[in-house]
């Protein structure tokens, strides 16, 4: 009895907050499939998705390298300041994306400390570089956060063994450390990519949101809704494409997670 009560509470909650709304959006998109499809395949929507993928393709490798190095510094090194590093890495998780965006606007704006870039004709704000910077900021912690516990768990016995057998630091990393944390890295990369694709608040502030130029896929959804004039199929359609990408991410997560836990 108690078992069924708990089960129906949990499933009922998920139905109200997650499954029901999601099913309804799919239903509404199917209701005007032609309108949705036209919006998805329109020139500026395709450009928006291209920009999102382009920015993701830049931000993910940067944050992967950073995350692995950061994890190594936090767990393995005795450098002073690694506690601060540990705290700083998590900041983007707790900080509002709008604050991230505003920080970049203040830093790279005309009167900002880095305003000189603009004086020399290098557009950062309201252009692709700012979108990349904002995306890198918000997706910074994910690889590091997956790598840190795994590094702690595997310990450094094998690394020390490799060292005593004459391996260099570089060899130890490539032959011992990286293979044993690889699934944690992959899992972190999946989470990073999901965050990059889905970023909205920070990009909204720094991008300028120019159709076909600095408009990412999530901004496109926002635009499609705000200028819907009663016809919401375009917004639902583009949103559904992003939701499909999220489902791919979920599939990747469920495939990778057991492997990560097995290491």
């Amino acid at each position: 009895m108690r078992k069924y009560l708990l089960r129906s509470t949990a499933l009922g909650y998920l139905l109200i907050i997650l499954i029901g709304p999601l099913a309804m959006m799919i239903w509404r998109t199917l209701g005007d499939l032609d309108g949705a499809w036209a919006a998805i395949t329109s020139h500026n929507t395709l450009l928006a998705f291209k920009l999102t993928l382009y920015v993701t393709a830049i931000a993910v490798p940067i944050n992967t390298v950073f995350g692995v190095v950061c994890g190594l510094v936090i767990v393995r090194s005795t450098l002073p300041g690694r506690g601060i590093l540990n705290a700083f890495v998590d900041l983007p998780l707790a900080l509002s994306p709008v604050v991230v965006g505003l920080s970049l606007v203040v830093l790279y704006g005309a009167n900002g400390w880095f305003g000189f870039f603009d004086d020399h004709g290098i557009r950062i704000l309201y252009a692709v570089p700012a979108i990349v910077l904002a995306t890198v900021f918000v997706s910074l912690p994910f690889v590091a956060r997956e790598v840190v516990p795994t590094l702690r768990e595997i310990g450094d016995d094998q690394e020390q063994a490799a060292r005593t057998l004459g391996a260099s630091g570089w060899q130890t990393f490539w032959r011992i450390t990286l293979p044993s944390i690889r699934w944690a890295v992959v899992y972190g990369v999946v989470l990073t990519a999901a965050r990059c694709i889905g970023e909205f608040g920070a990009v909204l502030v720094v991008s300028g949101n120019v159709e076909g130029k600095t408009q990412t896929a999530t901004l496109r959804v926002d635009d499609a809704y705000q200028f819907a004039y009663g016809n919401y199929a375009p917004a639902y359609g583009i949103a559904l494409v992003l939701a499909a990408m999220a489902v791919l991410v979920l599939v990747a997560m469920t495939l990778v997670k057991p492997r990560e836990e097995a290491t």
């Binding site: 108690r2 078992k3 708990l6 089960r7 509470t9 949990a10 499933l11 909650y13 998920l14 907050i17 997650l18 709304p21 999601l22 309804m24 959006m25 239903w27 950073f66 950061c70 705290a87 700083f88 998590d90 900041l91 983007p92 998780l93 707790a94 900080l95 509002s96 994306p97 709008v98 505003l102 920080s103 970049l104 606007v105 203040v106 830093l107 900002g112 400390w113 890198v136 900021f137 910074l140 999901a194 889905g198 909205f200 608040g201 909204l204 502030v205 999530t218 959804v221 926002d222 809704y225 705000q226 917004a235 639902y236 949103a239 992003l242 939701a243 999220a246 979920l250 599939v251 997560m253």
Partner: protein, 258 residues
């Protein structure tokens, strides 16, 4: 490494603090304590606390069901829990509008009683949006602890005559409490800064549904100092939350480190 972190994270934040302090502390305080800013901040904090607490209770129940219960489709439900992490927040807002918007199919008209499950432009919209985006936090911090928890302890308590509630309160809860608390705090932090999911569904009505993040968004062009002041308040909250979570984690792992 440090250079990268400084350029990407530390410098923008330093610039923001510098900018907000530019006109002196009094000027900062005047804009940060303006009635509309205070209303937005208060609303963010209250709704985030409500959403985080709701998800602490329902998230713990969900984690329990996923670990101890067994039913068809459980693994699918388990995978679905992560969807709010994977789904862009703007899509989350739109998904809620699809079911709970003006055109909601959830309506009941009995002539004398008329009910319609429309939550847009009300504070319910903020609550639902925040529930959606913070759903996975507590589930994902409690679930691994429950998995490792030995059921023998609970059986021992039961054989000694403890009722179900006592078993939960005295045996299970002390073990999962650090997980609940750190999940709750991260959910709270996430909710306080949330933008994408609330921006479309709430309508941003000042004093009614305008939260801190949308207040900042509205002000960036016309009143950058006001926007910066509220941003610094949010930044302070973020740091406080991170310190709290760190403390919970240290408390949870106190036996392992000793």
């Amino acid at each position: 490494m440090i250079t990268f972190l400084s350029v990407v994270v530390a410098l923008p934040i330093a610039a923001l603090i510098w900018f907000s302090a530019g006109n002196g502390f009094d000027a900062f305080w005047t804009v940060a304590s303006s009635p509309q800013a205070v209303a937005a901040l208060k609303l963010s904090l209250v709704m985030s606390a409500l959403a985080a607490l709701t998800n602490a209770v329902l998230g713990t129940i969900t984690a329990w069901v996923l670990v101890r219960d067994d039913f068809r489709g459980k693994s699918a439900v388990n995978a679905l829990i992560d969807l709010p992490f994977a789904l862009p927040t703007i899509v989350a807002g739109l998904v809620l509008i699809a079911l709970y918007g003006v055109q909601t199919p959830l309506r009941l008209d009995l002539g004398f009683v008329h009910f319609q499950a429309t939550i847009t432009f009300s504070r319910w919209a903020i609550y639902f949006a925040l529930l959606f985006v913070t759903l996975p936090f507590v589930v994902r911090t409690v679930q691994p602890v429950l998995m490792e928890l030995d059921t023998e302890l609970e059986e021992a308590a039961r054989s000694l005559g403890a009722g179900e509630f006592t078993v939960f309160r005295r045996v299970v809860l002390p073990n999962i409490l650090p997980g609940i608390l750190s999940g709750l705090t991260m959910a709270f932090a996430r909710a306080v800064g949330e933008v994408g999911s609330v921006i479309l569904i709430t309508g941003n009505l000042p004093y009614k549904t305008e939260v801190a993040s949308t207040f900042i968004l509205q002000r960036i062009d016309g009143d950058p100092h006001g926007a910066a002041a509220v941003s610094v308040v949010l930044l302070t909250i973020s740091f406080a939350v991170l310190l709290t979570v760190g403390a919970f984690r240290r408390y949870a792992t106190r036996h392992e480190r000793a």
